[in-house]
């Protein structure tokens, strides 16, 4: 199957989360994913993009979300990147139910769902240098 790649950059705003996950779902149609696998991918991308909107930038200085995807050798890689404040302790942030949000309705399950719905999750981040999340997924069939 031919290689392909995708690059999208959008303002980190709530209304763009759907645009990103639907774009990745369409892009993933180039690989033999099942519909439930595509849904899993949409949830993982949605969680990554939502984190950028909620946590990456100060309200006074909004930034952007960069999304890259490529498929090669039958596997898909999706990279979701922000240039925001970054995460000091990535291991802590990845723990289930951990959140820095003061809103009790933010469950802190974003990374758990990214992990659960992909084959591999990588998180690279440092304070002041933004965060890059890499989601790897391969069709199970």
């Amino acid at each position: 199957m031919a290689e392909n790649d995708l690059l999208i950059e959008v303002p980190a705003r709530a209304e763009n989360v759907a645009l990103l996950r639907v774009s990745v779902a369409a892009f993933a149609g180039g690989l033999p994913f099942t519909l439930p696998e595509i849904e899993e991918l949409k949830v993982a991308v949605s969680e990554a993009a939502t984190n950028c909107v909620l946590h990456a930038y100060e309200p006074a200085s909004p930034g952007r979300i960069e999304l890259r995807a490529h498929h090669r050798d039958g596997r898909l890689l999706v990279e979701v990147r922000d240039r925001g404040r970054g995460i000091a302790d990535v291991a802590q942030a990845r723990q289930a139910a951990y959140t820095t949000s003061s809103d009790p309705e933010h469950l802190g399950l974003g990374f758990s769902f990214m992990e659960q719905f992909t084959d591999e999750l990588e998180v690279a981040s440092a304070p002041g240098e933004g965060t890059t999340v890499r989601l790897h997924k391969r069709p199970r069939g």
Binding site: A14, E15, V17, A18, R21, L35, P36, I38, E39, E40, K42, V43, S46, E47, T50, V53, L54, P104, E105, H106, L107, L109, G110, F113, Q116, F117
Partner: protein, 109 residues
């Protein structure tokens, strides 16, 4: 996302269609809280049959409404989304914390 509501036998029924993500969840929270205040209903059924996508922010909004209603002496029941939006809903094990029904009729029975 579209929302409609109706009071049935003193219970507030909220029907949700579309995507319950970060943007949808903000609207959902605001509207449901307002309808609860306006109708005085404390028992709420949220019908998710026509929801096409749900993520952790959608789940958070559901659990947040449940918390508010329980604090008022009320309750929240949910009608399970149709596939494919069910992926996360089932994986999250929501049935353990929320009463989940297959149909609106059963939720209201």
């Amino acid at each position: 996302m579209q929302l409609e509501h109706e009071v049935v036998d003193g219970r507030l029924v909220v029907r949700v269609a579309g995507e319950l993500d970060l943007r949808g969840a903000e609207t959902f929270r605001r509207e449901v809280d307002e309808w609860v205040a306006l109708t005085g209903a404390r028992r709420v059924v949220v019908n998710l049959r026509r929801v096409t996508f749900i993520d952790s922010t959608g789940l958070g909004a559901l659990l947040g409404r449940q918390r508010r209603l329980l604090a008022m002496g009320g309750s929240l029941a949910v009608v399970r989304p149709a596939a494919p939006a069910r992926v996360l809903f089932d994986a999250a094990g929501l049935g353990a914390v929320l009463p989940v029904f297959p149909t609106e009729e059963k939720a209201l029975a």
